[in-house]
């Protein structure tokens, strides 16, 4: 099923959302709000916690898009591992507990302008391009079985390369963090 094969269907429109769409939009708003709080809050640890909310919300969105395996991986890796790592990073760099007034740099207004411009451009383009495109959620697209089959049947080589990449990242992180000996 592709774009040309989906005709403009009067039964499906913005003004008549289905239940899944309503849930998706609501969760999306939550994710967006959490993300905004992540990048604006003055309390650094709170930012990490809001990140958890945003990433968890995204996991729900994946579920709504029938990509269940991705959703669980999202929860496991992001919420479980990455955020913990980030919290450790905050602690190791002795991030202050409580509000720090200088959490934002002087580049804030430039960043805001660039971000708004990018958002306007992207949203305009996306809406313009996919105004009349619908996803058929009738069949599950991302079951664990399907994912596993494709991953180990067609994507084995990148998968293995990625494992090497992870190993390299591991070694790199150790090398970077290791203290140089003062005098041998």
């Amino acid at each position: 099923m592709n774009l040309a094969a989906v005709p403009l269907d009067s039964t499906r429109g913005f003004l008549s959302p289905s239940g899944v769409e309503i849930v998706f939009v609501l969760v999306g708003l939550g994710v967006l709000g959490a993300a905004l709080l992540t990048v604006t809050t003055k309390q650094l640890v709170h930012a990490a916690l809001w990140l958890v909310v945003a990433l968890g919300g995204l996991a729900i969105e994946y579920l709504l898009l029938t990509a269940e395996f991705i959703a669980w991986v999202q929860v496991l890796i992001y919420v479980g591992a990455v955020v913990v790592l980030v919290l450790f990073g905050l602690m190791l760099t002795r991030a202050p507990i409580g509000a720090s007034p200088d959490a934002d740099s002087g580049n804030r207004w430039v960043a805001l302008g660039v971000a708004l411009a990018a958002a306007a451009t992207l949203v305009t383009l996306v809406v313009d391009a996919f105004r009349s495109t619908w996803i058929d959620l009738g069949t599950v697209a991302g079951s664990t079985k399907a994912n596993g089959v494709t991953l180990f049947r067609y994507w084995v080589l990148p998968f293995e390369a990625l494992s090497v990449l992870l190993l390299a990242a591991l070694v790199g992180a150790i090398v970077l963090s290791r203290r140089e000996k003062k005098e041998p």
């Binding site: 099923m1 790592l85 980030v86 949203v123 996919f130 994507w155 390299a168 963090s177």
Partner: protein
């Protein structure tokens, strides 16, 4: 489901992450913002994969890869931030300005101060590191 919803959400999430990367002073927060941007990409990949029903599930496979790469990235990124913090005594990205062109910038003095701080902070950081380790 209308494709515009996930696409717009991804776009907005990406821009929020972009703002965070550009505006946050703390390097760890910058890394968090990068995670947001990566997740926006992931959302896009998943949504388009579901829409296109690709036989190879390219979108979801790539999403998995991206998540993995993101994990590696955050590990390395945090290691670099720690290294900077250990050397400079700060994780503030706008105080790491050694590459500044010209000597009339006030950054030189700040860096000098930063270096002094680093010496003091180093020992403390060591203790913490050892404690963590």
């Amino acid at each position: 489901m209308h494709l515009v919803f996930p696409a717009v959400l991804a776009a907005l999430l990406f821009c929020v992450g972009l703002y965070g990367v550009l505006a946050r002073r703390n390097a760890v927060l910058m890394l968090m913002s990068v995670e947001l941007m990566l997740n926006a990409v992931n959302l896009n990949l998943v949504a388009f994969d579901v829409w296109l029903r690709d036989a190879l599930h390219s979108g979801q496979a790539l999403t998995l890869f991206t998540i993995t790469v993101a994990a590696a990235e955050i590990g390395l990124g945090l290691a670099i931030v720690l290294l900077i913090f250990r050397n400079r005594g700060t994780a503030d990205i706008d105080r790491v300005g050694r590459l500044t062109d010209g000597d009339e910038q006030a950054g030189g003095d700040e860096q000098a101060g930063g270096d002094e701080q680093a010496d003091g902070a180093e020992t403390v950081g060591d203790d913490e590191m050892e404690g963590v380790g």
